[in-house]
Symmetry: C2
């Protein structure tokens, strides 16, 4: 053996022990919780030890140092792999007591890794495929930062550990296609190629040649023995050099090391049992008790932290010496400056005065023109509907392979991949991503949107063509249940502005959110400017407000959002001819209105009978409607026809509102026990929307 071989052998011996530490921490923590997934941490312990021991650049004493490498455990069920490493390299919030409290209430060691729940967790994973797709966004953001600040300030890798599930999920296709296209050379995926999924062998459900698949997408792809540290290290070295994103298939045995269960799908999602664990201690010559790691092994792991700290300190010196320091720090802080708000206030005032009548998707583009001119933080995009979503502005040059100076992403026909990539861009830091598709295709992006909300990320979804108002494309393209789906999602703003003024207001609120994603549901069709009051107050910030008060005491209150506010205003006018005083309340954001105090809510909603008007399903509206009320909206799916015909066909008209108001106000209304309105349960294409309380 020559010296270099000797060093390698010693490193491998030490790495074997380092990996075994992960194995026993995973086994013991899952056993104690009697819940969790030991198989993956055990199977990938060798490869991930090599990755951390020899390559990864993170500093546990400053977990959010911007130029750290990103490590994404896409196979999030293997969370004990991450927690074990975080303990071993001394993250402040991961003492051994936390590992012993795995999956218990209040512990840092949640069932799946959660961003923000413990230090150093780069993204929330568990829903399969999200990690790899989010990592694509991180790698895009890295390249964008490097293009803006040179590689002396931004130069890090994004490493992913993915399982078979991640690669079977459709979102992985969207992610790898986009990554290959953009040649994200600093994205490196280690695939835990153990040929086992929950149901048993992957032979039960797939015959995919993953290496060929990734190569078809423009990736570099290698396959190595995942239990051979030298082979893994060599593969990572090559991956770091190649000009393409890299897949390294690590051939592993699930539950590697387990005395009798190694290789079995039974190690995937359940504790191994005391007997098996005891036998594994024998087999691996690991005499230590549970939740104990010998000092020399702990010390070996410390070198990871030391290497990271040294790198971080060197980076800080470079940053201090950089002329871009201030701009860099503002970027990382996502500091919008005061300019945007002022410009938007002027924009609103001008269009209020001018009475601009435009589709809210167009109002959104006009607003974005102001925003993108005032800040470089925003990064636009669309899932191949740029001309429909109107997400491009004069400032947003497209990003392309080799050119990351731009700030617009052609995400392709990949709504799910777009959502996850936006999450990754937001998580990386330095940018505020927004991206467009049709509201109805929020269906395809659901998994990613949910994670935006769960992680509390400042991601903005521009969802246009927000109702039957899109017209001829028909029911497959007409959202009916989507506002309810999004409103039901915790920690998500769902904005549906009624005109250009509200659109600008909602954009301003969305931009100001630090820990909450936003949806802007926007019309295809033109809508008149409706704001009547003067003054600069952002009324949408209260979620709902009286757009037009009744002249005297209210006989009825009309609640509406978006394109239906115009219809409510028309109905109110017609009701005056009938001597009925109607107030019109615009409700651009239920979530913000819910956060108002009771006095304000009461003042807006009033105590007159209410009619809710929205070109969508009723679910959720009863919260605001009160006992004497009616709903004018959709009872089922839409249909294909010009928008005007559809509004008439489904009865979402001023006439219908007037008729409902007359019934509510004039009928000899008996206060019967309030029960659910009966609606027609047919698909409803031919049913006039109407609902009567009885």
């Amino acid at each position: 053996m020559n010296v270099s071989q000797q060093i390698e052998t010693r490193a491998a011996a030490s790495e074997r022990n380092m990996a075994d530490a992960i194995r026993f921490l995973a086994m013991d923590a899952v056993q104690k919780a009697n819940s969790g997934h030991p198989g993956m941490p055990m199977g990938m312990a060798d490869a991930v030890t090599v990755l951390f021991n020899r390559f990864i650049k993170i500093d546990p004493s400053l977990p959010d140092w911007p130029d750290r490498d990103r490590f994404v455990l896409s196979a999030g069920h293997g969370s004990m792999l991450l927690y074990a490493i975080h303990h071993l390299i001394s993250f402040a919030d991961m003492p051994m007591t936390e590992l012993a409290a795995f999956r218990q209430l209040g512990s840092k060691t949640a069932g799946h890794p959660e961003y923000g729940h413990a230090l150093g967790i780069e993204t929330t994973t568990g829903p399969l495929g999200q990690g790899i797709a989010t990592a694509v966004g991180m790698a895009i953001a890295e390249q964008m930062m490097a293009a803006r600040f040179t590689s002396s300030l931004c130069n890090h890798f994004t490493y992913v550990v993915a399982g078979d599930g991640c690669l079977q999920e459709g979102i992985s296709h969207e992610a790898i296609d986009l990554a290959g296209h953009l040649k994200l050379r600093k994205l490196i995926v280690l695939w835990d190629d153990n040929r086992i999924s929950i149901d048993g062998s992957t032979d039960l459900s797939t015959s995919m040649n993953q290496l060929a698949r990734f190569r078809a997408a423009g990736w570099d792809a290698q396959s190595v023995d995942g239990h051979d540290p030298q082979a893994v290290a060599k593969a990572i070295e090559r991956a770091r050099r190649t000009r393409k994103p890299s897949l390294i298939a690590c051939r592993t045995r699930i539950g590697k090391g387990a005395a009798s269960m190694e290789g079995s799908h039974k190690t995937h999602g359940a504790a191994l049992g005391d007997k098996e664990i005891a036998a594994t201690r024998e087999k691996l010559a690991w005499p230590h008790p549970p939740f104990f790691v010998p000092a020399e092994i702990k010390s070996a792991w410390q070198s990871v932290a030391v290497r990271g700290r040294v790198a971080r300190e060197a980076w800080e010196i470079r940053l201090d010496a950089s002329r871009s320091k201030k701009r860099y720090e503002q970027t990382i802080a996502r500091d919008l400056g005061g300019g945007v708000a002022d410009l938007l206030a002027k924009f609103r005032a001008a269009h209020r005065k001018r009475g601009s009548k435009v589709a809210t998707r167009q109002a959104s583009q006009m607003t974005l023109e102001v925003i993108n001119g005032a800040t470089a933080l925003t990064v636009g995009g669309s899932a191949d509907l740029t001309g429909s979503n109107l997400t491009m502005t004069s400032q947003t040059q497209a990003i392309a392979p080799g050119n990351f100076k731009g700030r617009y992403l052609h995400y392709g026909i990949r709504e799910h991949g777009m959502a996850a990539a936006m999450n990754g861009i937001a998580l990386h830091g330095g940018f505020i991503p927004y991206g467009g598709t049709f509201l109805v295709f929020s269906d395809y992006a659901r998994g990613g949107i949910r994670l935006s909300a769960l992680m509390g990320l400042p991601v903005i979804y521009v969802l246009t063509h927000d109702s039957i108002g899109l017209g001829e494309d028909g029911p497959t393209h007409q959202p009916v249940e989507h506002l309810a789906m999004l409103r039901a999602t915790p920690n998500l703003n769902v904005f549906r502005p009624a005109d250009i003024v509200e659109t600008a207001e909602c954009w301003e609120i969305a931009l100001g959110e630090k820990k909450r994603p936003s949806v802007l549901a926007l019309s295809r069709q033109a809508l008149p400017m409706l704001r009547q009051t003067d003054g600069d107050e952002n009324l949408s910030a209260r979620g709902a407000y009286v757009l037009q008060e009744a002249r005297g005491p209210r006989d009825v209150t009309l609640l509406a959002t978006g394109s239906e506010v115009e219809i409510a205003v028309a109905a109110a006018e017609r009701l005056q001819a009938e001597d009925i005083e109607a107030a019109v309340v615009s409700m651009p954001c239920w979530e913000k209105f819910e956060a108002q105090d009771a006095a304000y809510q009461g003042q807006v909603l009033g105590d007159a009978p209410r009619i809710a008007v929205e070109a969508a399903g009723r679910l959720g509206w009863d919260r605001w409607m009160g006992p004497h009320s009616a709903f004018v909206g959709m009872l089922g799916f839409g249909a294909s026809a010009p928008a005007g015909d559809l509004y008439r066909h489904f009865g979402i008209t001023a006439d219908h509102i007037v008729a409902e108001a007359l019934r509510l106000v004039r009928d000899d209304f008996r206060e019967a026990p309030r029960i659910g309105a009966r609606t027609d349960s047919r698909i409803g294409k031919d049913v006039i929307a109407s609902s009567r309380e009885i």
Copy 2:
């Protein structure tokens, strides 16, 4: 030229005219509607003409003949391609007047093809990628039927026309991986390889080598000039012979034939304009007015119908001669026979008597054991969660490549692909598909679930682990908004049974639905048998019912579903000690309850204050709660911990219900204007669930 070459040349000349007929019908219909997508029908006219003229086996006079070839226009925006062909081969409901009414209210020519809306439309398409994924289900069903009835009764191809969008969407990955694995040799996909998407060249967003990608998944893949009929025909011939599913990349020019716009993305989604169309008439030497097709071209197209009729008549003779005829017809009719209902009634009675305490997912498996024993129509499956969803029974042998006798599909980690495949199985006919995943991963399947509902298909989703009751896996795996999302979807039954009796009842209802999909939301945790009444009536069929009436006049009514009914029952008992009479209403299916008459609804809900209890978000509940009410449930996302700890942490407990009841009943309740309850808008992990009306 030899004779065969002469014939080919003549066929090609004729096919050129046949294709031009499609082109002008598409151009003119889109122009008249001033809405639609001419580019794709024009680009694919040549290839699809060859497919129909030389290969496809359909009989327009009997559009649902079971052994017809299936044609799926996955790129559904090219609907005029389909409508033009349906007109040209004389489908009864597609006269020229319908083409002239393209995209108008009440016409057969909806914006995108809709199953059930016009004859011969095999599936609803438009949301990209759904067609190809649904076709996989059709091809699976074809093989299954052939395995049961020999190829003399079932022997047809499934042809798909897919665009770039279909192949970029993630669902396509799930579909082609599954199809390649199962070696669905009679699935043939023609890809409209025009290198154009809405934003412009596909170079903007993808560098995928699609042929290599499909080959990696086990497909045969070819590339041909899509405007060369002989090449297309040769490719289809090879595809029909190969033992694998086939991709044929048809290199085309979008808007082929257009005078100046051929090849431009501007032909994709808008009318070409009168001038361009006139110039195109010149260029293609097509002197005919809009909406006119010369007799000789119409006659050439008629040969497609003739070939189909001959094939269908030959098949009918084979069916009449078959000893399996009766069984075949029962299968196609999805005739369950009376046996299942009787067996399920006995099953319910036995477990009512026995008081069986099991998780509803286990109750579902026990019910399925009865169902699958009594009928061969059901086809089970799971997205790699078989042991968790408990979707397998003793009768369900797995389907595998080359073995389609089984009736269980290991769908892999592919929720979206599973949903679409189930749609395809249901559309093909002969089977009732059910498939499992966790409720939270209905997110991933949303696009497919929506189409189940829009098409009105008898597909059953077995969605287990339906709340924080799943425990330690944490918020990524705990559904909170999913019941609302599903309940908001029109034409979908959302069942959440409370015990083994309700589970069997809900299964029985779901099986009986002919035109409506169902979701069964099932618990991970064990739940006691709660049914107190005797008798065989399926009480779940009414959607909600009084499980336990108050002894005297009601002081409060507790509304609950699923695992929370047990908690409501416990609360009612405890309230008695406080001299408060509570009724407990179980609401396993809101949709069915909505369809009841007002008298029944009133009787169930009563006029006492109400408390709704569900381990999910509030959205939608206000419809049933009434003005004096409270909600006990989730305000935000869940957390990682054992289930019992989580229920206590989030306050979904009998104690909390009792406290709310005391407040509602004893407080000096002023009937204030009913307004929305204020809730904490934080992510809510640490917030005790509670909501107070003010």
